[in-house]
């Protein structure tokens, strides 16, 4: 199934102006405005973010990927527990996954200690959490589809047949 090209464009670059989107999609500006508004209202568009290189921005936060094993509940399976975990501000992302464990939780903190205390004091004490394994992120190469080292295309001729 193919999604609305308007959404594809916005997912690549949230800063497109309505005018640019209208130009690219052969729509009128007001059509773009109303479609974006509808997507925002019905929750299809959840939010807009800027992808920032933490090294260059001076951000020294640490991130960890935490593998969480859960005991599913009789009513609601994993959803209620996953939401409970996801609502913490420290949790950047939270995914239910297949395989050896159940949730992949990305936790961000000011330093190792802060992440560690969140895991030991909050995460692992939630009822139903069987175990956690914490993996700290060392370096990012690509995030949200953006390579940190932009590839330069070399040697393209300015005029060719």
């Amino acid at each position: 199934m193919s999604i609305d090209p308007l959404l594809t464009l916005l997912s690549q670059k949230a800063r497109y102006t309505h005018e640019e989107l209208a130009d690219l999609l052969s729509l009128t500006e007001s059509e773009v405005v109303s479609r974006v508004a509808e997507y925002e209202a019905n929750g299809t568009i959840i939010g807009y973010q800027t992808v920032i290189d933490p090294d260059l921005s001076g951000n020294t936060d640490v991130s960890a990927f935490i593998e969480v094993k859960l005991t599913p509940e009789r009513d609601g399976g994993f959803d209620r527990m996953a939401m409970r975990i996801a609502k913490f501000d420290q949790v950047e992302s939270c995914y239910l996954i297949s395989g050896g464990y159940d949730l992949n939780v990305v936790v961000v903190g000011r330093d190792l200690r802060e992440v560690a205390s969140f895991v030991s004091e909050k995460l692992s004490t939630i009822q139903g959490v069987v175990s956690t394994a914490t993996h700290f992120k060392l370096k990012t190469y690509k995030q949200n589809g953006f390579l940190y080292e932009v590839e330069r295309q070399e040697g393209r001729l300015t005029v060719s047949p």
């Binding site: 090209p5 594809t8 640019e20 130009d23 690219l24 999609l25 052969s26 590839e151 295309q153 393209r156 001729l157 300015t158 005029v159 060719s160 047949p161």
Partner: protein, 388 residues
């Protein structure tokens, strides 16, 4: 030493490419926004490059079969059957070449006797007329019209057919006009080819890049045409692999055999690294094509709309990645217009006459460049045409 009598007389009939002259003017200028390229602005999709690197790491650096790697020919045969709906045996009806350019040269040399006439529609790719001359043929261009969307009309074709006509060359979608042929026109053209016993070289290099039609039709897929068609295709445009230099020809065995004779002594085989990359492209490249095609489509619509808004007439090109606006009303030749545009606004676009006489009065603007550059180029062009 006097070289004038050392160089082949036949080659003296071949003129320099008009693009080459223009290229030299643009070179060395720093600030140019170029709409003058004839290739995708995307780098080759990474999975294809990675497959090529992997093959090098594994030491896959030898010659291949003259026809090309067996696995690649199987994939090509499958792809052509699926996309063009024509079946060719990978054993003796597919030849892997160094780009479509080599395949055109091989086909013309394999088919022509000195003095045979080759008909092609114009404006067209810059190599057609020279390739015909270098194969000792006689080039017979048929001018196409903006009013017909630069598609070839059967009556125009019939008007130039003579006793000496041997080959018809087609290229839809067309470089430089972006023209596509509708099935009705192709059927009439096919009937003429059968009636006059012409062999058709159909250069399908842009066939994946069509934006309005639901699907592309090759003349080779029409009834009775496979036996008299040489279908030429490659990886440069749809897969953004221009520098890999890889193409192929599909044709009845005896024609491939004849082309192969030349290929094996001149080229031996296409580069193995490129062949490996091409296998990866055919096996896993479909999504990359869709992604790039979507971007081209948006840019085409934008460029056409901007040109029309600023009062520059142009037909809506159905394919490839070129817009071919009509600049006759400004009272300058294509060359003068392109030169002044370059000098006064630093936007480079190729004068239409580089693609044959019938391209005079037009400009080729390639939209395989970033949207930001297209927007800026159109802003500058708009300011430029306001002076007239």
């Amino acid at each position: 030493m006097d070289y004038s009598d050392k160089i082949s007389k036949q080659l003296a009939t071949v003129s320099r490419s008009g693009i080459r002259d223009f290229f030299e003017l643009v070179q060395g200028r720093e600030d140019v926004i170029s709409l003058g390229v004839g290739e995708p602005d995307f780098a080759t999709p990474w999975h294809i490059r990675e497959a090529a690197i992997y093959s090098l790491e594994n030491g896959q650096t030898s010659y291949t079969s003259n026809l090309g790697l067996l696995k690649l020919r199987r994939r090509i045969s499958d792809y052509v059957r699926g996309f063009f709906r024509v079946s060719y045996s990978y054993e003796d009806e597919v030849l892997v070449t160094v780009g479509v350019s080599e395949a055109i040269d091989l086909a013309l040399r394999a088919l022509l006797n000195p003095g045979d006439e080759v008909i092609y529609h114009e404006p067209c790719y810059v190599s057609y007329s020279p390739s015909i001359a270098m194969a000792y043929g006689v080039a017979v261009p048929v001018a196409t019209r903006k009013e017909d969307g630069f598609s070839l009309k059967a009556e125009d074709l019939e008007a130039v057919i003579t006793e000496r006509s041997r080959v018809l060359m087609l290229n839809f979608p067309t470089n430089p006009t972006g023209a596509v042929a509708d099935v009705g026109d192709l059927e009439e053209i096919a009937a003429l080819c059968i009636k006059h016993d012409l062999v058709v070289l159909t250069d399908e290099i842009y066939s994946e890049l069509i934006y309005d039609a639901v699907e592309h039709t090759s003349i080779a897929s029409l009834d009775g045409m496979k036996e008299r068609c040489v279908l030429l295709h490659g990886f440069s445009k749809a897969f953004a692999m221009t520098g890999f230099r890889l193409g192929y020809a599909c044709a009845p065995g005896p024609i491939i055999d004849a082309m192969m004779k030349i290929h094996q002594y001149s080229m031996l085989c296409a580069p193995v690294t490129s062949q490996v990359a091409a296998i990866e492209a055919l096996e896993h490249g479909a999504a990359s094509i869709v992604r790039m095609k979507e971007a081209y489509h948006q840019r085409r619509d934008y460029m056409v709309r901007r040109l029309q808004q600023m009062g520059v007439e142009c037909h809506v090109p159905g394919g490839a990645f070129y817009v071919f606006p009509d600049i006759r009303k400004f009272g300058l030749s294509s060359k003068e217009f392109a030169m002044r545009l370059l000098e006064e606004t630093s936007v480079a676009a190729v004068p239409g006459d580089a693609f044959g006489e019938s391209g005079e009065g037009f400009l080729r603007c390639c939209y395989a460049t970033s949207m930001e550059e297209i927007v800026e180029a159109m802003d500058r062009l708009e300011a430029f045409v306001r002076k007239f």
